[in-house]
């Protein structure tokens, strides 16, 4: 009877997750969707507690401790720090799945196969072959471990605790392949001999290998490719949870984990498409590290002063603002909002053009501009803006680089050739805000900066935008 109730609750919670994800996909229902999915989570936890026989002190302590830490982290993060936080949470989820796998293995090894399987059968009503449980444990540990260290490296790169440049060394691919083969071999071996005396060492070995793969997989990926990697790791954390569900034969774990895994993959593919690259190319390409022979840019970068820019903007009737990661770094979103308000008061039509991979995670710019209270009708996707770009008086590029580089359109030798970009170069005048003269994160020359209609505004983006807005105030 209790089992029926628990499983009905699990079904209810799966339905809530599905509606949650569905509603999260529409602007007017998104918040409701997130809340309903959190109710689903609560139901799943309550249902699980109904099994009873748990060590209640540890359960209560663990949930309390985790909730407090989670709430504090969620409350204290700044919107510019969002990509790091998502990466970090994701890593915790992966590590949790790894630990679930480890704990289950310890039970299996400690109590013996027979008692493990009969305890499982008593709880779920299903008897599984020992090999199945062992392989599920091995795969959970592997995917969980990769998710964990992959996310930690992504977090370190995003929070600039380590260089965001791709790190590549010779033999990297060979090492990855060997590690992958070793881990799969280990999973098979564990499936065949789950309780052999050496099997404990094998599981520890699997943990170590999975952690290594996570690091080696993320190191060669550059900062600009982070949106792809974050969504992929998000997907993997779901897969790890689903695999953990196969160990303990738990429906809700399998279904919810799988939903996340699938939706993460879709998001990953959307990001890849926005860069015109395959996922294999992102993961193994070591983008920008090799660097082919690109066309040398002709001409020079012409600097302008804030006053010059003001006179042009003052006369502009239509303005497009193109934000990039630099806006996030300079925390310039509020200043940018102020400038756009000034321009509108002055009679100009202001649009924001958002490239799908601008920033370090999917939708990064939208979050920052939402924080600064920019109405979302003003935020436009790439295609509609490109259609009107030739009639735009001024395009202001704030800390964006690759997503406006016309080399993607006309230089087949460029590593980003073929990537859809925002056609800022078609505007009548272009102002690019940039910290210094060097090449950006990806290490590529940007042909836009050498364009005859482009003027550079060097300096901190926030300071520049603020002083531009101040000119209007005079």
């Amino acid at each position: 009877m209790k089992d029926v109730l628990i499983n009905l609750l699990y079904i209810a919670s799966a339905i809530l997750f599905i509606f949650g994800i569905k509603w999260l996909g529409h602007a007017d229902t998104a918040r409701r969707g997130n809340r309903i999915s959190s109710v689903g989570m609560l139901l799943a936890v309550i249902a699980t507690l109904l099994y009873g026989g748990l060590d209640w002190k540890l359960v209560a302590g663990g949930i309390l401790l985790g909730s407090v830490i989670g709430l504090i982290m969620a409350k204290r993060v700044q919107m510019t720090g969002m990509p790091e936080l998502v990466a970090l949470f994701n890593g915790f989820g992966g590590l949790a799945s790894l630990l679930v796998g480890a704990a289950e293995y310890h039970k299996l090894h400690h109590g013996g196969a027979e008692s493990y399987l009969s305890a499982l059968a008593a709880q779920t009503g299903v008897t599984v072959p020992l090999a199945f449980a062992a392989v599920a444990i091995a795969l959970t540990v592997l995917v969980g471990g990769v998710t964990f260290t992959g996310s930690v490296v992504a977090w370190a790169k995003l929070s600039e605790k380590m260089s965001g440049r791709p790190m590549v060394f010779t033999g990297q691919k060979a090492i990855n392949l060997v590690l992958l083969a070793a881990s799969l071999g280990g999973a098979v071996a564990l499936g065949m001999q789950p309780v052999a005396p050496w099997a404990v060492g094998l599981v520890i070995g699997l943990v170590v290998i999975s952690l290594l793969i996570g690091v080696l997989m993320t190191l060669p990926i550059g900062g600009g490719d982070m949106p792809v990697v974050i969504s992929l790791l998000n997907s993997l954390s779901g897969v790890a949870a689903a695999l953990a569900g196969f160990i303990i034969l738990n429906n809700v774990l399998v279904v919810a984990g799988c939903l996340v895994g699938a939706s993460g993959i879709i998001l990953t593919l959307i990001m890849c498409k926005a860069m015109n690259r395959s996922i294999g190319n992102v993961l193994f390409g070591g983008f920008g590290a090799a660097g082919g022979k690109q066309k040398a840019s002709t001409g020079e970068m012409k600097a302008a002063s804030v006053e010059d820019a003001y006179y042009v903007l003052e006369a502009a009737r239509s303005v497009v603002i193109i934000p990039g990661y630099g806006m996030a770094v300079a925390q310039a979103q509020h200043a940018v909002k102020e400038l756009s308000a000034m321009l509108e008061n002055n009679g100009a039509e202001v649009r924001f053009a958002i490239h799908p991979v601008a920033g370090r995670m999917p939708g990064h710019m939208n979050v920052l501009l939402a924080e600064a209270d920019v109405p979302y009708e003003q935020l436009q996707e790439m295609e509609p803006v490109n259609a009107i770009m030739p009639s735009v008086d001024v395009a202001i590029v704030i800390g964006a680089n690759d997503v406006v580089n016309p080399a993607a359109l006309d230089d087949p030798a460029s590593p980003i050739y073929g990537m859809p970009i925002i056609h800022a170069h078609e505007a009548r005048a272009i102002y690019c805000l940039k910290r210094g003269k060097g090449t950006g994160f990806s290490g590529l020359e940007n042909a836009l900066f050498y364009h005859p209609n482009t003027r550079m505004l060097y300096g901190d983006a926030k300071a520049t935008v603020t002083s531009l807005a101040a000119e209007f105030g005079k």
Partner: protein, 97 residues
């Protein structure tokens, strides 16, 4: 050995994959971040597995590993939902005219 229940689980797994693809396929890019962090919170569902690892009759080591897993998964769940809600509250605000 009864394989039917396992196949049923595989069945649920497969359907969930397709459902996940369908649900996300047409999401506007402005919602990509909340969608990601919201689904990230759902992946903390592994907390269910973690809780079951701390059964009172299990060896202490398994329980303590389970405890660590519960803490981590709960951070993932609670933090993930809270931060997504915070983000979406900002998106909401600008619906004023």
């Amino acid at each position: 050995m009864e394989l039917a229940p396992l196949l049923l689980l595989l069945f649920a797994f497969t359907l969930a994959v397709f459902l996940g693809f369908e649900l996300i396929a047409k999401v506007p890019s402005q919602l990509h971040t909340p969608l990601m962090s919201g689904s990230n919170a759902i992946s903390g569902i592994t907390v269910v597995g973690a809780l079951l690892a701390i059964a009172a009759n299990e060896p202490p080591l398994a329980r303590w590993i389970g405890f660590a897993a519960v803490v981590l998964a709960t951070i993932n769940v609670v933090g993930g939902y809270a931060v997504t809600d915070r983000m979406l509250a900002m998106f909401k605000k600008k619906e004023k005219p």
